[in-house]
Amino acid sequence: MEKIATSEISKLSRRALLQAGAAGILLLSFRLPQARAAGDTFAPNAFIRVGNDDVVTLVMPQVEMGQGIYTALAMILADELDANFDKVVLQHAPPDKAYNNPIFGVQATGGSTSVRAFWDPLRKAGASARGMLVEAAAQQWSVDPSTCRASNSEVIHDASGRKVGYGAVASLAATLKPVSDPKLKTLKDFTLVGRPVQRKDTPDKTNGKCQYGIDAMPAGVKFAVIAECPVFGGKVGHVDDAKAKAIKGVQQIVVLDDCVAVVGDTTWTAIRGLSALDITWNEGANANVDSAQIWEALRTASKGPGAVAKKVGDVDAAFAGGTHYEGVYELPFLAHATMEPLNCTLHYTKDACEVWTGTQVIGRVQEYVAKALDLPIEKVTVHNFYIGGGFGRRLEQDMAIKAARIAKEVDGPVKVMWRREEDTQHDVYRPVYHNAVSASVKDGKIVGWTHRITGSSVIVRWLPPAFKDGVDIDAVDGAADQPYGFPNLKVEYIRAEPPAVPTGFWRGVGPNNNFFTIESFIDEIAHREKVDPVAFRLRHLDGNPRLKAAIQLAAEKGNWGSTLSSPRMGRGISAQNAFGSFIATVCEAEVDESGEVRVHRLVAAVDTGIMVNPDTIVAQLEGGLIFGLTAALFGEITIENGRVQQSNFNDYRILRIDEAPKIEVHLIPSTEHPGGIGETGTTAAPPALCNALFAATGVRLTRLPIDRNALAGRKPA
């Protein structure tokens, strides 16, 4: 396996970290976190609690935001623990290093890392606890532990027919020394892993009981709605609040240097109050920034020197001779548009603060709220909630900090909410990216490949140690380790921060940009070389059998090569290995004379290693593909006068059910280490779609969202 150019980076690369985790270098914390449920008798590690009432509580180190992770992680734990899955109780983890994501070293949920990062630690935690419970029962019965087994939260001694519930031996187990290197189950022994299991979080999501951060209702809570300066970085100038104060139910107007909040007895009075405020903003230096400038700056930066992220072979030699191809691909800013708008509820008292919110980074919320309020960190309690869509937005703590600064001015608990328009206009946006690619083809194969990525670095802010020698490991993820094993390769990165606009992680992260580029460009080369796009890809995949198999399966299930029902339809494919999963996607799309696009069908084949909950994998692919289609068809945040031009779903469009294609997902069984899945579909859909549109029209789209005008009037290809 080729190494990324800088060894320090490789220490932090996901794959390397996973290998480290698998090798047991990253030790599980056996220190107990601060929050414990009452009545927990046996708490052998951060993740498992067994009460003497037989209740097995599993503490979830990763947050549930729809990706089914509570169920998957609970399955891993419960399987090794041999707990009765129907009866386990799940709990959100409190902020504590014990729950740090081993890949990031931060208590964070993102990057499709949850199963990849916690597969080994949780198995060990479960097996170790099971060992202790068995040991306790064996001691009680004075039998050899090896003659006992565990099942459904009971220890069973088959020889004597004795059984004891976990609760009954919990006290004794708690006195035992943890088993440091427990025996793990083999694949065939799993009773939960690999089976489609009913999700733990979904029943309460059908009846209104499920609580998201926005549903937190501490006694006496007041409701606040926030307005931030529409221009990034702008400040509050003057606020005339006479009209707002006159509204019945408006309780307080909080004016900070960069935002204003109205506190009311209901959210509605707060909204009305906010609308009635006459706010003059000091727009500041960014008031003249617009999209055209941002693009120009990005393109200019793309011509500067880049940091080498990966170099293989001799690219110059590969480009001596052969047929050369060049391409430029660009992606726009995107908002997250989570269905649950940003919110954070806090109760600040002079010497402490309690926080209720749904976050992907609970530890950082605690840390930064403490800083904002000038409190010792231990005086800040954070309650995490189910998340109504994260997609990377809740990997940030900006909303908690702002809400804390507002809560500091309010007597009693206050829920600070962003209206949809504010949420859209004060996001951290998926960066604009510029990609310059070139390839040299000899004897029908790509022998040389260069890829120069220009864009904002989110990592440099979010995980500074992962930005080394000018390379952002996320921005080059998927490009530096491209799947095709090109013998001569150079991947460069140029960090170019857009003026004014804050950037952040967005579902699919770096691979979104890189696979859109790679998969569009390789498709273009196949076309110019007059080779079938599937066959052309397969030619380069002898060293990547898992991706090869995925492409073959997707092509077969997607009826690759068969005639489509309309001459205006086209079929395209994309392939990727990212997030530890190998995926190929076939898209069928139709373009009418006016350039309007209808996506009819998506067929994906996925090898994600060992599947914990196969149905969740299918669901994540389905959802991720739709998320990607929304971006490809509609997604773009534009800037004018320093402001985001989009505001709500009328102008920041989300794919609807009647626009959604049929989707088929085919799973490839595997015994490899589990891969990530939450982001893969988002990455897969846009290039598959654009390649289908090319097949339909002969128009190569090199920017997203798709340009209907470019497709308009084209005769069927």
Binding site: S594, G595, F634, Q646, N650, D651, R653, D658
Partner: protein
Amino acid sequence: MKRFHWGLLALAIVACVVAAWIIYVPGPTAFASGSTVALGDYKGTNPTGVPVSLASGDIVKRGEYLTRAADCEACHTAKGGVPYAGGLAFNLPFGTLYSPNITPDKETGIGNWTDADFINALHKGIAPDGSRFYPAFPYPSYTLLTNDDVLAIKAYLFSLKPVRQETEPNSLAFPFNQRWGMMFWSLFYNSNERYRPNPSQSAEWNRGAYLAEALGHCGECHTPRNLLQAVDNKKKFAGAVTAGWRAYNITQDATSGIGSWDLDTTAKFLAHGHVEGLGTASGPMGEAIDMSLRHMAPEDINALVVYLKSIPAIADTSLPLPKTMLASGFPTNQEIAENARGAMIFAGACAACHGWSGKSPILSYADFVGGRTVNDPTARNVAQAIIWGVTRHTPNGVVTMPGFGKAYSDEEIAAVSNYITARFGAEKSRITAADIKTIGKQASQ
């Protein structure tokens, strides 16, 4: 030879008569029986000024009412901008005009204007520096205002907070950028004459005429213009397209106008811009209601109704009698076969508020049934509402329909507009993506 000359002369005379007829425009109230007299000679109740209830108020208070009645704010405020600070762009075929700042800022507004300057502007269309205004500024209507009323308006404007806001320069193509050309236009089309009451008509009628013609300048939008862009009172209130929106026929024609509306209904519509079963005013008329008409005293609304009821019917065969029957259920297979895209967009973006029947499950302001907009087979206003959205101020607060023009393609907007007229109107429209592109740009921004 001789005969030829005679023929030529006859032809020339006919041509002159025709040309004169084309460019000749009768006075705004010429349709009414009886002759007019100068205000000073009129013995009836004074039709000018403010209603009796406000007559004792100070000049600023009176000016506020008159400023609203003249609806200065609608044009002199940019979208989302500070009232009266100008900057609204009028997108005309030959370029863009920007409304000026009329706050009393001395440098960027009208703070240095004298009374005479202001009167000159409103009566003659001449700026203090002698340059000519374009008739987008309706001085041929304002010229009917009394000096007292003009100065009350000025007093109100001068009571406002001065706002420093430069007006963007107009971008008109030659020859339209030659302001002096307006001199000749004014000779023809600006009477420079104050309102002349008609003693044969009732006091209410005369007040209504003053409100409609001098202050409210209804005809500026609702009356078609002639070749020289003057309001053509020969077709008084017969409907026209202004700023990309269709100002409907408000003559007494029962089918295409508002002849079937009774007095109460007409009054209610004027005061609220909405009557259940008749739809909701949107676009520039929605603004006229919100900024102007809803602030009018009930007696002034009644006077307007009396005046409107006297307008001769002019039929517009392009406008059918509005359909009053509710639509039912989800789209039929036939509807989908005809316009699947329109049905899809309606289902996703429109049905939640407007309902599948045309009766909103939420708010009667969102009803389609019976409204002129959906019963206009050009679908022009349906499309504009979709592109730009609608904001209305109702007695129960602000009602908003968001605009969809930024995220939906012209093709999609055309499709859903046609779907809406087909489902809810008397006649389906055939608006195209190209039309959407054109009309979207015509709207003032």
